[in-house]
Symmetry: C2
Subunit: 190 residues, 2 copies
């Protein structure tokens, strides 16, 4: 299974593609970042990011796109751009009939390191180790995008038909996913 | 000048097109709403709204698109969909080279009624009166979209090269626009 991870951002949007292989193996396909000039009007910046994501989908033909789930509680100004990019990424995927999944930062951290509170540097180091890279991928957004792609490729439902989590990392993942669902329900009820 | 107003929403996105004429006249071109089924995955819902907006742009060939500026402070769950739709609308406009403008609800209310705190029903009644309609446009989102389009068509810079506000409504508009800019700066500094 080939997954494109997208770490949404307006100035720099991390992109990373991995291919999952039997036995919990993942191989690197590509990583990078789509950027847009901060001084451009927002509509043109969003278009630049949308076109880059579309190009990555066309070039790498992923089976699924994993996007970081953005929460509105953080800094309002930053969040609006991030949230708009996540929407734009979803449209690029939907237009091409590619499956979309959203994962919270906690889910991603748990999936990759077994610890939902792992610091950013640990994620990047783990991504490098899993993909056989000599150093953590740069920019940091690309490492985050690769972690998202790995998280999705390893999500428990693809590993076991019963949804049973075998490893510590998978157990942490299942917990984080459950917590995210609870959180979402609170929102809907609000 | 022809303006497409967009009141962003995932379940129902209000759309309204007006044509401004000399002497503060506005004429109705079209109004309606793009909808998406609440049970569909978000990516497909966003695509449905994006395609509808693209169709409206292609059909009505507006000179500009006026979108409601969404603030992140409100209900987090609703805001994320609204914000994503606004981003998606911007991309549809940018892809076609159509100018994009964002207006706050306060600006729109001030432009249409002269009162930045006017209730929703008053806006809808005023929109009907300005466009020569027998009754307020339905759904309410379409009335909001038409108000956005009128607000943009009437923005002071298109009325006077010096940016001087002539009427009470225009003065209120200028004040609301200034307040919105101040608000935005606070965000950037945060």
């Amino acid at each position: 299974m080939r997954v494109l991870g997208v770490d949404p951002g307006l100035t720099r949007c991390g992109l990373g593609v991995v291919e999952s292989r039997p036995g919990r193996q993942v191989a690197l396909v590509a990583f990078g970042a789509a950027t847009s000039p901060p001084d451009d009007p927002v509509d043109r910046r969003l278009l630049a990011i949308a076109d880059a994501i579309g190009l990555w989908i066309d070039r790498h033909q992923p089976d699924a796109i994993a996007i970081e789930r953005v929460f509105a509680q953080r800094n309002a100004y930053t969040v609006s751009g991030t949230m708009q990019v996540s929407g734009v990424a979803m449209v690029e995927a939907a237009r091409r009939g590619v499956e979309v999944a959203l994962h919270t930062p906690t889910e991603v951290k748990a999936a990759v390191t077994g610890n939902g509170d792992a610091p950013k540097e640990q994620i990047a180091r783990m991504v490098a180790r899993l993909l056989g890279l000599a150093a953590p991928p740069r920019p940091a957004d690309a490492a985050d995008a690769l972690a998202l792609a790995i998280c999705h490729a390893w999500r428990p439902s693809t590993l076991s038909p019963t949804g049973q989590a075998a490893t510590a990392a998978q157990k942490a993942w299942v917990e984080a996913a459950r917590a995210a669902r609870r959180h979402r329900k609170t929102w809907v009820a609000a």
